[in-house]
C-alpha cells in the first residue's frame, strides 16, 4: 500500500507530508482519513501541510481549505515548492512558505518523550509518539499520544493511546484507575467498583480493550 501521508514532528507541532507523485484525489482521501482517525491528537496541535512539488488547482486548494477548517480552528501552514500554489494559498488565508531546506529542519519520526510532572485537572498532554510519564494523571486531566502511554504513577484521568489509529499501542500504569481508557478508536470505562491497586496494562484484544495485571501480561 502506498503511504500517501507521512507524519513528522516538527518544532512545536506536526508536519503532514503529502506524497506529491500520486493522484491528488487519492492523497486527499488519505489525508481526510488521517485527520478523522487522529482527531483527538491533531486538533490541539500546530499543523503544517507539506505539498512538495505538487501543483494544485485553486478549486483543489479551496476544497483543502474547507476540510482543514472543519478539523482545526487554528490556521494551518502550507508548505510548497511551487510559487503559484503558495500565492493561491495565501489568498485563501493560509500561511504559505517554501518547505525549509532539509539540513536546517529538526525533523523526527515518532519519538518517545519522558516527562516528570503531574498532569492536573484541566491539563492536556499531547505527543506524537510514546509518552513516559513520571508522575500522576489526575481526574479531569488527559494524555493523548499517537504511541503508547506508560505512567509511573497513578492514573485517574483519561488516557488515549494510539490516537492516530495505532491499535498495537498500550497503556500501562502503576495504578490504573482511569475514568476512561482509549486506544485507537476503542474506548473502555473503568468498572464502578474500585479495582485492585496493582500495576496494570491495557491493550486491544480483538475488538475490545483488555486490562491485565502487569505480571500476567504476555505478548
Amino acid at each position: 500500500m502506498t503511504e500517501y501521508i507521512t507524519i513528522k514532528g516538527a518544532r512545536g507541532g506536526l508536519r503532514l507530508h503529502i506524497l506529491d507523485t500520486c493522484e491528488w484525489t487519492d492523497a486527499f482521501v488519505a489525508l481526510q482519513k488521517q485527520l478523522t482517525d487522529g482527531a483527538a491528537l491533531l486538533q490541539g496541535m500546530k499543523l503544517s501541510l507539506d505539498l512538495g512539488h505538487r501543483e494544485l488547482s485553486p478549486q483543489a486548494l479551496d476544497e483543502l481549505h474547507n476540510v482543514m477548517r472543519n478539523y482545526q480552528t487554528d490556521p494551518v501552514d502550507i508548505l510548497s515548492e511551487s510559487r503559484t500554489v503558495r500565492a493561491e494559498a495565501r489568498t485563501m488565508g493560509f500561511i504559505a512558505k517554501p518547505p525549509m531546506p532539509k539540513s536546517t529542519t529538526v525533523e523526527v519520526e515518532q519519538t518517545s518523550t519522558v516527562m516528570t510532572r503531574n498532569v492536573r485537572s484541566g491539563q492536556i498532554v499531547r505527543h506524537h509518539g510514546d509518552v513516559l510519564l513520571l508522575g500522576d494523571v489526575n481526574a479531569g486531566a488527559e494524555v493523548i499520544a499517537s504511541g503508547s502511554v506508560m505512567v509511573f504513577g497513578r492514573v485517574r484521568g483519561v488516557i488515549h493511546a494510539g490516537a492516530m489509529g495505532d491499535r498495537s499501542a498500550v497503556i500501562c500504569a502503576i495504578e490504573l484507575s482511569a475514568t476512561q481508557l482509549r486506544i485507537a478508536d476503542l474506548r473502555a470505562r473503568a468498572p464502578e467498583d474500585q479495582g485492585q491497586k496493582i500495576p496494570e496494562i491495557a491493550c486491544i484484544e480483538d475488538t475490545h480493550i483488555a486490562v491485565h495485571a502487569w505480571h500476567e501480561y504476555r505478548r
Binding site: N118, R120, S121, G122, Q123, D136, N138, A139, G140, R154, R156
Partner: protein, 265 residues
C-alpha cells in the same frame, strides 16, 4: 515590604473568606501589620465576616479608578489596630479591574503592611486571575470532598502555569470521625492526589457559622480549638516551624468498643 498571599480554591463555599478573615486577624494578633483584600468584586463578604460592613465608604474599584486615595479606602478592624480591610465593590463586576491594575494596586499595598492577604473569588475566570496576579504565595483551601479536590487540582495547575511556584494547602472541615469510619477522604488521601505541601488542617466546627453570623472571627476566642488551628497556620506563615498534628476529637464509646473488638486502639 509586605508578603502578598492569595487564598483561593476553585470551588465556592469551602472556606476562603473564613480562612482569610481568621488568618488576617491571627497575623495581626502576632503583631504584624496586615491588610486583607476582598477581590470578589460584585459578591463581597469579607467585610461581613469581619463585621465591618457598615464602615465601608470607598472600595477597591474606587482606589483603582482614582476616586479616592488608597488610605481612605482601608478600614481599620474593630478588634485589632494592626488589621485593615480593603473591601470589594458590590455594585460593579469582575471586569471593572484588569490584571495590570490589580498588580499595581498590590504593589502600592506592599509598602503599607507586613502581610497582604487577598481573598480570591471562586472560579477560574478573570476574578481569580486578578486575585493571583500580584501574589508572592498562594494558599489553596479545600474540603475533603471529591468535587472540591478536583477543583483544587485544577487551580494548582493554573497557579503553576502562571509561574506561582508551589501553592500550599489548607484542608478545611475535616471530620475525624467520618475519616475513621472510611466515609470521608483522609488527609493522606488528599495529599496523595494533590501532591503539594500542607500548611494546616481545620476541623468541621459549628462555631464557625455562629461566629461568621455575628461578624466575629474564631481566633479571637481563646477557648476555640479551631481558632488555635488557624493561629498555628498564621505562625507557619511567619516562618515558625510548628508540627501539623492530626485533628483530635474524642472517639465515641461505641467506636472505642468496636475498636477493642477489632484489636485496635
Amino acid at each position: 515590604m509586605a508578603k502578598v498571599i492569595t487564598i483561593t480554591s476553585g470551588k465556592g463555599g469551602v472556606g476562603k473568606t473564613t480562612s482569610t478573615a481568621n488568618l488576617g486577624t491571627a497575623l495581626a494578633m502576632l503583631g504584624k501589620k496586615v491588610i486583607v483584600v476582598d477581590a470578589d468584586i460584585g459578591l463581597r463578604n469579607l467585610d461581613v465576616v469581619l463585621g465591618l460592613e457598615n464602615r465601608i465608604v470607598y472600595d477597591l474599584v474606587d482606589v483603582i479608578e482614582g476616586n479616592c486615595r488608597l488610605r481612605q479606602a482601608l478600614i481599620k478592624d474593630k478588634h485589632n489596630g494592626e488589621l485593615y480591610l480593603l473591601p470589594a465593590a458590590q455594585t460593579k463586576d469582575k471586569d471593572a479591574v484588569s490584571q495590570d491594575e490589580m498588580v499595581e494596586l498590590v504593589d502600592q499595598l506592599r509598602s503599607e503592611a507586613d502581610y497582604v492577604i487577598i481573598d480570591s473569588p471562586a472560579g477560574i475566570e478573570s476574578g481569580f486571575k486578578n486575585a493571583i496576579a500580584g501574589a508572592d504565595d498562594i494558599i489553596i483551601v479545600t474540603t475533603p470532598e471529591v468535587s472540591a479536590v478536583r477543583d483544587a487540582d485544577r487551580i494548582i495547575g493554573l497557579c503553576e502555569a502562571a509561574g506561582k511556584g508551589h501553592p500550599r494547602l489548607i484542608i478545611n472541615r475535616l471530620r475525624p470521625k467520618m475519616v475513621r469510619s472510611g466515609e470521608m477522604m483522609s488527609v493522606e488521601d488528599l495529599l496523595q492526589i494533590l501532591a503539594i505541601d500542607l500548611i494546616g488542617i481545620i476541623p468541621d466546627d459549628e462555631a464557625v457559622i455562629t461566629a461568621t453570623n455575628r461578624g466575629e472571627v474564631l481566633v479571637l476566642d481563646k477557648n476555640s480549638k479551631t481558632g488555635k488551628y488557624y493561629m498555628d497556620i498564621a505562625r507557619r506563615i511567619t516562618g515558625e516551624s510548628i508540627k501539623i498534628d492530626p485533628i483530635e476529637d474524642n472517639p465515641s464509646l461505641m467506636e472505642r468498643l468496636s475498636g477493642m473488638f477489632q484489636g485496635k486502639r
